[in-house]
């Protein structure tokens, strides 16, 4: 018998991705690549006013065009499609996928065309004539709170979706009782108080693949298949089933290749409901593909949270208390998770520090803008930004090194698990270790000397440092209305190959690779013998989806649990064949053998074959090798890290240039460090983008001024220096992998670190805080001394 080749352990290795061969050849199938026979195309007619009553819609010219199958107004859609559900328990106004009588943001759909091709559909949409009685629009969130000049939803006076919801020290778990004494006492004994209004601006998530949907209702089978560019096909299936009146057993949702999501493809959108409902109504397959111009108004935006931050401390740097009054501009409607995103900002207000007393309040405000929802980080970058900016300001006020101020206030490793003032239980952490490694890698003292030398030459160079802790791997089910678990089924096929499903539906995260690495090690087989199936509710029985950096920490754990169950059963079959005890068996190098005598083993494939034709069937066993697991984490995970940046600002133009970006991230155990690096790079890019060049801007009339990539800047390769990454490893006890999650980390520390660097660079001009984005003109004005004391530039 040939000696089996020794298979290397793959977990922890920089394994090349298995997704790539198809993608680098252009052979991936994204939604817009799908064509079905008889498929018709949908184009939405969208409102060009931000707020108005629809006076009339004339669809006659559109209907008369050759190739137009149907045209529906909002009122006509409402006859067969109910209002859109949300995924949070907060009160919410009725929201129709296609506006019936009132439009509340520019870009809201008002009619739908179905036509033979997208060219005809577009022409027909242009031929629809809509007239509006224009109403005043409100785009400033603090103005909106006055109820002037308009109230967007009559049932929500002063445009308040929710008002002053408290959280933190002295607030009961249900929020019903609030005791301010500890917070008041902290501020009463403060020797220094930092107070700053900070705007965490609105962003356009901008996955490179715009959204798209293909819906195919088969009247004969009374069943629906829907392909969508979504992060969570199982959630999509549930909601589509509910709104079409079909059971979940009659709806199959497929997320094919998904070209990025970044949180914006969690939401279940009106376009998904409408496409499905029209397919069902007309009994034909229909497709909708989003244009980029459409994406800017129709895909949810991110962030847009104002924070009034007060930080109380002693002059030795000891932090005593923190207050943050949060006001979130959620746009015109509540979407799936809109209302919940800023609650994560409250939850993470404790940051990495021992803060004895914290009070946060949250107000959410409707405005005549595109609704907000999750965007990479989703609430946690905002918390990090507010607290870290305040810490930076405190360090500056006290003339302390920003690193030493952090060090003084850290939660200590011995304090974990650590119950925060905000009700979170931080699982594990060693913040000082991450800080020290970042300082070492950046050569912090030398960097300060370089900065000072540059300043001596008249250059405007600054350094910024930020810590972060985020909440990932969100669970248990009490924390998520969808359920906080993840699901996997592992099947050893009859030929000995392994297929495994995961409910964590990837869109660039590389689960096909990392999950195969795990199973390869678990079963001692080559990775090439394993296929990871995902993104199809017809194949993957159950799942939640990919968001909140939960694929590995929750989905990976479910996979490992399912694998363990199958392995246990397979060992029983192997034990019968080998006449050995199952506990004495080892799975390695494609063989199952008795420990210590590999030559006596059976091949993995032969044991699999036996399990499906079990003659004789070992007592107490059913044939076959397939099992599933639902993993419900006991808690979230709390990854952390430290980001250090160096920036130079052009004295003449105000243009900022990022010179260095040093990141140390601790995501617990890493399955594939190559993929982890990629995730951090991407997160940094979006965090740097927010700090430096990205901002959604509306004019006073509610018209989007950044409605294309001509005006909304997506970072390009030339905008970045080479990122300098490193990691510390503090495993989590809440899942068997010890992995915490890493998808969003890069967006957390980078933004406050960069703003701190900009403030440092301009400190000679007396500036203490600068609101993002770091628009050259804004920086130039600070240099000119023209705008001090105004807006965010106090």
């Amino acid at each position: 018998m040939a000696v089996a080749p020794v298979l290397p352990k793959l977990v922890g290795q920089r394994t090349k991705r298995r997704e790539d061969p198809r993608l680098i050849r252009g052979r991936g199938t994204y939604v817009d690549d799908i064509a079905l026979i008889g498929m018709q195309h949908i184009v939405f007619k969208r409102s060009d006013v931000a707020h108005g009553r629809i006076r009339s819609i004339d669809t006659s010219a559109a209907k008369a065009m050759d190739g137009v199958e149907a045209v529906f107004t909002g009122a006509e859609i409402a006859e067969f499609l109910g209002p859109m559900p949300i995924g949070t328990p907060f009160p919410s106004p009725e929201h129709r996928a296609v506006a019936v009588d009132t439009v509340r943001f520019a870009g809201e759909p008002v009619a739908v065309v179905v036509a033979a091709d997208r060219y005809i559909a577009r022409d027909a949409a242009d031929a629809i004539v809509v007239t509006y009685d224009t109403l005043p629009a409100v785009v400033d969130l603090e103005l909106a709170m006055t109820g002037k000049p308009t109230v967007i939803h009559p049932a929500f006076p002063n445009n308040l979706a929710i008002a002053l919801v408290p959280s933190g020290t002295g607030v009961s778990a249900d929020g019903s009782t609030v005791d301010d004494s500890a917070v008041d006492a902290a501020f009463a004994k403060a020797e220094v108080v930092i107070s700053q209004r900070m705007m965490n601006q609105r962003l356009a998530p901008s996955a490179m693949e715009p959204r798209g949907v293909v819906a195919h209702f088969e009247p004969g089978k009374e069943s629906m298949t829907i392909w969508s560019s979504t992060q969570n096909p199982h959630i999509l299936r549930s909601f589509i089933a509910a709104l079409t009146g079909l059971g979940q057993d009659r709806v199959r949702a497929i997320a094919p290749e998904v070209g990025g999501g970044f949180g914006a493809k969690i939401n279940i959108y009106g376009e998904e409901y409408v496409t499905a409902a029209i397919s069902k109504r007309l009994g034909i397959p229909v497709k909708w593909t989003e244009d980029r111009s459409e994406a800017f108004v129709a895909t949810t935006h991110g962030r847009d949270i104002l924070g009034y931050v007060d930080l109380a401390a002693k002059r030795d740097g000891t932090v005593l208390g923190l207050k943050i009054r949060l006001i979130a501009d959620i746009g015109a409607y509540n979407m799936l998770l809109t209302a919940a995103i800023p609650t994560l900002t409250m939850m993470m207000a404790n940051a990495t520090y021992n803060i004895p007393a914290i009070r946060t309040t949250l107000t959410e405000v409707f405005t005549n803008k595109t609704p907000t929802d999750a965007y990479r980080g989703a609430g946690r970058p905002e918390a990090t930004y507010f607290v870290e900016r305040a810490m930076d300001m405190l360090a500056r006020e006290l003339k302390m090194d920003p690193a030493e101020l952090r060090r003084k206030n850290f939660i200590k490793p011995s304090q974990f698990p650590f119950a925060t003032q905000m009700g979170a239980i931080y699982d594990s952490g060693d913040y000082e270790k991450a800080l020290d490694l970042a300082l070492k890698n950046a050569k912090w003292d030398q960097l300060k000397a370089e900065r000072d030398a540059a300043r001596a030459q008249g250059r405007l160079v600054g350094l910024g440092l930020s810590m972060y802790v985020e909440v990932c791997g969100i669970g248990p089910s009490a924390a998520l209305p969808t359920g906080g678990w993840e699901h996997s089924q592992v099947t050893i096929e009859r030929d000995g190959r392994i297929s495994a499903t995961t409910g964590a539906s990837p869109h660039g995260q590389g689960n096909e690779t990392t999950f195969a690495q795990m199973l390869a090690d678990q079963f001692g087989v080559p990775m090439d013998d394993i296929t990871i199936l995902h993104g199809d509710t017809g194949v993957v029985k159950q799942g939640i989806g990919t968001f909140g950096s939960r694929s590995q920490a929750v989905g990976g754990a479910a996979l490992q649990m399912a694998g363990a169950k199958v392995k246990t059963k397979m060992a029983k079959f192997a034990a019968a064949l080998l006449e050995a005890h199952e506990d004495d068996l080892v799975f390695e190098n494609g063989m199952i053998s008795v420990k210590g005598s590999p030559a006596s083993g059976k091949s993995f494939a032969s044991v699999a074959a036996y399990a499906y034709v079990p003659v004789p069937l070992p007592p107490g066993l059913e044939p076959g090798l397939s099992d599933e697991a639902f993993f419900e984490p006991s808690n979230n995970t709390y990854p952390f890290g430290c980001h250090i940046s160096m920036m130079e600002i052009d004295r003449q133009t105000g243009e900022p240039t990022l010179l260095r970006m040093v990141a140390v991230d601790d995501a617990g155990n890493l399955i594939n460090p190559l993929i982890v690096e990629g995730q951090i790079h991407g997160g940094l890019a979006q965090g740097i983008g927010q700090a430096m060049i990205e901002e959604v801007v509306y004019n006073e009339d509610g018209q989007l001024m950044t409605g294309s990539f001509m005006d909304y800047a997506i970072p390009r390769a030339i905008d970045f220096p080479r990122f300098e990454l490193d990691a510390t490893v503090t495993p989590t006890p809440v899942n068997p992998l010890g992995a915490k999650g890493v998808g969003e980390a890069g967006t957390l520390g980078s933004t406050p670190s960069i703003v701190a660097a900009a403030v440092d660079a301009l400190s000679g001009f007396g500036v203490k805080h600068i609101d993002m984005m770091l628009r050259p003109e804004k920086l130039w004005r600070i240099i000119q001394g023209g705008q001090q004391g105004q807006g965010g530039q106090s």
Partner: protein, 153 residues
């Protein structure tokens, strides 16, 4: 309608198209070469990049009729079946992609970059792909991938 003929990935392909049909739609919908993607409508993102007469071009900003008589190479035609172009190999080796949506356009832009400048500096690579957006990678692994191909070439 207009009769057009062009050589796409080495084959003569004919079509009868509405003059306003974009080259990217002709490639994707008539020739079913769906590796070329559409990421914006303002000639910014580069997801639709193909080679037209040997140089990188954004196929969303060219009407198919303009390319009548041209030679077009898409990602599907970059390497013979089963083989990988050094850039494709580089993107795989260096983890130059995540969601993969920008990747075909990025690779096609890099083909022209390396044709013009076989041994580019990092700065020249970053400038050479400045017509292509990637929202996933932060570009660092893409730069590494192009360096890999340059070192191989």
């Amino acid at each position: 309608m207009a009769q057009i003929s062009m050589t796409v990935n080495g084959k003569v392909r004919k079509g009868n198209v509405d003059p306003r049909m974009l080259l990217v739609h002709f490639l994707r919908e008539q020739l079913r070469l769906t590796g070329t993607h559409i990421g914006c409508d303002t000639t910014q993102c580069g997801a639709c990049t193909v080679l037209v007469d040997g140089r990188s071009a954004k196929s969303c900003t060219i009407f198919a009729v303009q390319a009548d008589g041209s030679t077009v190479t898409t990602i599907e035609g970059l390497a013979p079946d089963g083989d990988l172009h050094p850039l494709q190999e580089g993107f795989w080796e260096e983890h130059g992609l995540q969601c993969g949506y920008c990747t075909p356009g990025m690779i096609m832009a890099a083909v022209t970059l390396l044709k013009d400048n076989p041994k580019p500096s990092e700065r020249e690579i970053r400038e050479g792909i400045s017509g292509n957006f990637c929202r996933c990678t932060g570009y660092q692994h893409i730069v590494n991938a192009i360096q890999y191909a340059a070192n191989k070439g």
